[in-house]
Symmetry: C2
Subunit: 222 residues, 2 copies
């Protein structure tokens, strides 16, 4: 929560005005992440950005639009990561899947960004187009990449003949679940750090889809 302050006192807009929209979005992310959408006041965002509420309306037509712009900004970046990385790895499906899982963890290392999926979920009814956008840009693409990798693994005889889409969700859902869980129940967030957890989830997943003699069988007691 970095409130932007014009150094100490006087010069009120020495900062470059063309940076303003991004500053507003940065502040908005801080505030939305803590309060969710509905409970966030434009005044809060303004204060966090070191501006007055009216100034925000110079750059964004409405509160809704601030939120949409924020999501598009952060999600665009995130999603680009995913599918370039996935494409690179078509040769080695296991490595590809592991990479996607790890990127997931690092992408959501910023807790403010991790709050976005929760907020979108919460506001999906109010912003069907936004939900649709998120689905198209993030969910479908990630899913698509995973499905391809899993299918490649099946074709190569590395994985069992599972339903790829189902398997993709089996990998993603514990990760999403964990993110949501940590936010909704902050008092029950003991346990290993995200990175370790991702490895464990991935191992379990891999064992679930691995062809008969599990290639990764540490933990098995014969």
């Amino acid at each position: 929560m970095n409130v932007i302050e014009p150094s100490a006192n006087q010069p009120k807009w020495t900062r470059k005005p063309e940076a303003r929209p991004d500053e507003v979005l940065e502040a908005a992310l801080d505030v939305f992440a803590v309060n969710g959408f509905a409970a966030t006041r434009m005044d809060d965002i303004a204060k966090a950005a070191g501006l007055s509420k009216a100034a925000i309306y110079l750059y964004f037509p409405s509160k809704d639009d601030v939120f949409k712009a924020l999501v598009e900004q952060r999600i665009g970046v995130l999603q680009a990561h995913f599918d370039t990385a996935a494409k690179d790895q078509k040769r080695d499906p296991v490595a590809g899947l592991r990479l996607v899982a790890r990127m997931w963890a690092t992408s959501f290392h910023d807790l403010r960004v991790a709050a976005l999926p929760r907020i979108i979920l919460a506001e999906a009814l109010r912003f069907p187009e936004l939900a649709e956008f998120y689905h198209r840009t993030v969910i479908e693409r990630t899913q698509g990449a995973l499905v391809e990798l899993i299918q490649a693994g099946i074709d190569a005889g590395l994985f069992r003949q599972v339903e790829p889409l189902l398997a993709a969700r089996a990998l993603v859902s514990p990760l999403v679940f964990e993110i949501l869980r940590r936010q909704a129940f902050p008092s029950h967030t003991s346990g290993p750090p995200m990175e370790t957890l991702v490895e464990a989830i991935f191992d379990l997943f891999l064992n679930g889809i691995a062809a008969a003699p599990a290639p990764n069988d540490r933990g098995v007691k014969p």
Copy 2:
């Protein structure tokens, strides 16, 4: 969305007044499920219950309390199912786990009830005590039951030496995920009905934790 109407027209309170709180909660469930918490007006609930807004305040002190009462009412029932069933099945962990998964599907067959987890997730920040209550009554208990079953399975040599808590979440999360997904992205809800999906998810899960020669290996192509 069954609006309660005093049959046709006149007799305005021939209904038993002691049924009123439950009628209000029933109506509230209808409305909250569609609109979420914040966007639901007390007038909406009142209308759905065939009452005036003021009448609701005769039975509940505030909107928050209506919501809390609703959650407690619906969740209490749901959770009772889970752990009795789980206790019965300690002898056969696989059957026990399968039963819990299936009960899950049937419990959330009522789409209005399925909306509750989403709403709680959305409002967790606003109602930390409610989130806490939900965690205690639903999450911890379900998790506890699953962990016991999984541990029993490991002890019996049926399952690999996995982290039981992690495995429990690996089973639950795709189910929760599916429920949330269907609500947030109603336009992308093709695919098999919940029941079929639960079976598929369960099979995949079972393969993930099964001891070396998978006891359930339909789907494997040698």
